[in-house]
Symmetry: C2
Subunit: 225 residues, 2 copies
């Protein structure tokens, strides 16, 4: 069945940049393209938006279909619309930034795993379309928002230690932080809740476990995107 319009229309897709921390590295989930264009190259998960779904639901659906992931934090990143970005024709892509702890990402195995892999943000393979640009923007955005949002927490499981949280800030922010000052900074956000539990982690004092307070807002200080 054909769908006809009086004027030409672009195709609209979503592309999702899924970041997680693996082996203390910021990593992104990519799919190896089986067919042309860019056969053999790696691409962001994503696909066409369907008529009755919101952009965000479309992104979540594509992510589920292509990677099996369902439990991720998602926010809109930017819309890419260069006329020549896809050689097959005009394709406008609404890019999303997704974050999740590695634990939430095991469903990846559920799908066609051969074509799926994690890459360190520092060591990307040859990428299809303008996906390298999209990824670069996602990374810059994530890094910028670290300091005035609670995005970092989205890379951790529900409960976590102070040190784990600090590592997120250090890895994403690409700089080492002072332990005492970091704790002071986080406490000043007033978003931490003690769980009462501890985690024994080796031959030393066990660490207290925290969770993000349910009432925690995403933005603090200077609000913005």
């Amino acid at each position: 069945m054909q769908h006809c319009y009086d004027y030409p229309r672009p195709a609209v897709t979503t592309d999702i940049v899924v970041f997680t921390l693996r082996n203390e590295r910021l990593s992104v989930l990519l799919i190896r393209r089986a067919r042309d264009p860019y056969a053999g190259y790696w691409a962001l998960p994503g696909g066409f938006v369907e008529p009755d779904e919101t952009l965000e639901r479309g992104a979540l659906r594509e992510l589920q279909e292509e990677t099996g992931l369902t439990q991720v934090y998602l926010e809109q990143l930017y819309t890419f619309g260069e006329p020549q970005r896809d050689p097959r024709g005009r394709v406008i892509s609404v890019a999303y930034l997704a974050l999740a702890p590695l634990e939430a990402l095991q469903p990846v195995a559920a799908s066609d795993a051969a074509a799926l892999d994690w890459f360190e943000a520092e060591h990307l393979p040859e990428m299809a379309f303008d996906h390298r640009d999209i990824l670069a923007l996602a990374r810059a955005r994530l890094r910028a928002k670290l300091n005035y949002s609670t995005l970092a927490f989205k890379l951790l499981p529900e409960t976590f230690t102070f040190h784990e949280l600090q590592r997120v800030y250090e890895i994403v922010g690409e700089q080492e932080l002072d332990k005492r000052n970091f704790r002071k900074f986080i406490r000043s956000l007033n978003v931490l809740q003690e769980t009462g539990e501890t985690r024994r982690n080796g031959a030393h004092k066990p660490a207290l476990l925290y969770r993000l307070a349910g009432s925690a807002v995403i933005y603090h200080d200077r609000q913005g995107t």
Copy 2:
């Protein structure tokens, strides 16, 4: 001539929130809709993206066609894609934030002026579609970016006095600022260039005129969108 595709495609439009300062108020340019849906309501300028133009060029073209404006600062704001946002069918809109000094906006008179008007951001008329939401987001974004960007300068003509710049920050930020501290803050950005000129403005000391240094970056401190 019909354009046919194997799958349904949404229409893609741009909508542009043009802010300026008028009578010491943050104001936005709206167009009165002549026909249904939302006949008689006010809407943001914008329209369909053409096959061979970038999203940004499309936004600039629509702005020119509908309002006569050509000299504005433009940045992408957000993409709105709720399936029901337009009763005529699926329309995805890439919203842009535009800023310009009132002086650059006289071309407004060039177009069908009867249907065009400025509204104070605080006193908006009944608006079509989800344009009120778009406007609210644009306003929040502008305000948030004041403190870590040079967006405020985009609301001023090429040369301006310190006091005029302060008024921009006060009006957009919705709070009064201390004169001496403000000057210290701006100087610390290192983006001001003295023109050597002054402006006589009444029975008092004339004000020095400045311009934004050509090398000035948009972002300072914490970079981000």
